[in-house]
């Protein structure tokens, strides 16, 4: 995968690192990083992932190499070991991307523009609507829908059970929706 001499050098540094030489270890990590970056970047390009993800992958690979450094058999070449870790972490990153389903902003620009012209919730004064809710319901909607906190965080903050938070949120959103319907007719 890499030049034989290069791998030899890395293996020597890693052997010293495993024997407790932290300067050699730092040197090893610095030496491999540009190669990791090149690999991560070319993978990201071929798979259409944004370049911004490259550095995340590089750092994840470095961390994995660090945590799993004991799994390298020091009597064997180090290249395949590094290569396998890089492969594993790139697959990981792509799997996560799959779940998040990043969509480039250019693809949705038209839709966004259209929605704005049509008006709707974006132009409503959120505060004035929230003011129509009862005290605790208002706090909960603010916490979850506007601040983006989780149900659990909200429940902890208000010393409620998660179930109670869910019910309160549901009721609050329902009455807000009703309010919007009344206003728009």
């Amino acid at each position: 995968m890499w030049d034989q001499g290069l791998e030899q050098e890395w293996a020597d540094l890693m052997r010293m690192a495993l024997a407790g030489d932290s300067a050699a270890y730092r040197q090893f990590l610095l030496c491999i990083t540009p190669h990791l970056r090149a690999m991560a970047r070319s993978r990201c390009r071929t798979l259409g992932a944004p370049d911004s993800e490259t550095e995340d992958i590089v750092q994840e690979v470095l961390l994995a190499i660090h945590l799993k450094r004991g799994s390298w058999d020091s009597s064997r070449p180090i290249g395949p070991w590094i290569g396998a870790i890089v492969r594993n972490k790139i697959i990981d990153a792509l799997r996560r991307r799959g779940r998040r389903t990043n969509v480039p902003i250019e693809d949705v620009m038209d839709t966004l523009a259209a929605e704005e012209q049509a008006g709707g919730l974006a132009q409503l004064d959120i505060d004035s609507h929230l003011a129509t809710l009862k005290g605790r319901q208002q706090d909960i909607v603010r916490s979850i829908s506007i601040n983006g906190d989780s149900i659990r965080e909200t429940a902890n903050r208000f010393e409620m059970t998660e179930g109670a938070v869910r019910v309160a949120l549901h009721r609050a959103l329902k009455s807000l929706a009703q309010l919007c319907r009344i206003q728009s007719t």
């Binding site: 690192a17 004991g70 390298w72 064997r76 870790i85 594993n88």
Partner: protein
């Protein structure tokens, strides 16, 4: 965090005290000790062990279980390291079904057909199916625990071999207790018990060996 800062921080960590191979070896020995301890305290060797030790059928049980345990351990260790394949150990492992098939063929040749069924069913197949997995649980847990320190590229596969190894260790001990020595019995029931452990290992690997 900048990558350079990350590297500086990582470099400060002391190296692991023992290599992965050493830890794996220790876990193997501990597994054998655990399974052996349970065997000696709870199950025990069969009363006629002295006479049995002279019979080829009894001895064959170990010819099957020991290479199985050894081969599966070797494959599990190798698969725990990134960038490595199963290697020569899979030949050791692959020899087991061949040996078993030969033994079964010899048994069918030597024993009259009207006895085949009773040899196959044996006297306590149920014990075999329960005791082997029971003794294998400790070893499997130990192996999976140390393999978390490795980095298997295919966690389920590596876990599966750990399961076979644990089953092989347990079966080696169980063979000293079990009064059924016919290769027909071994091929059916020992295999079933060990394969159950293989499946358990696969599931455990998928769950615990991701990294």
């Amino acid at each position: 965090m900048r990558t350079e800062d990350l590297i500086d921080r990582l470099a400060l960590d002391p190296p692991p005290r023992f290599g992965f191979g050493t830890v794996f070896m220790a876990a193997t020995l501990l597994s054998i000790a655990v399974a052996g301890g349970i065997f000696l305290t709870v199950i025990g060797v069969r009363p006629d062990i002295g006479r049995a030790a002279e019979s080829a059928r009894f001895l064959f049980k170990f010819v099957a279980t020991m290479p199985l345990a050894l081969g599966a351990l070797g494959v599990a260790l190798r698969l725990s390291r990134p960038g490595m394949t199963a290697g020569g150990w899979q030949l050791v492992l692959g020899a087991v079904p061949v040996l078993l098939a030969i033994a079964v063929a010899l048994e069918l040749h030597q024993v009259p057909a009207n006895l085949w069924q009773s040899r196959l069913v044996g006297t306590n197949a149920g014990f075999c199916l329960i005791l082997i997995p029971l003794m294998a649980l400790g070893p499997l847990a130990l192996l999976i625990a140390v393999m978390r320190g490795g980095a298997p590229e295919r966690p389920a596969l590596a876990g599966g071999f750990a399961g076979l190894a644990a089953g092989g260790i347990a079966a080696t001990f169980y063979a000293m207790h079990c009064p059924d020595d016919s290769p027909l019995f071994v091929a059916a029931w020992y295999s079933a018990a060990i394969l159950v452990m293989g499946v358990a290992g696969c599931l455990a690997g998928r769950r615990f060996l991701r990294w």
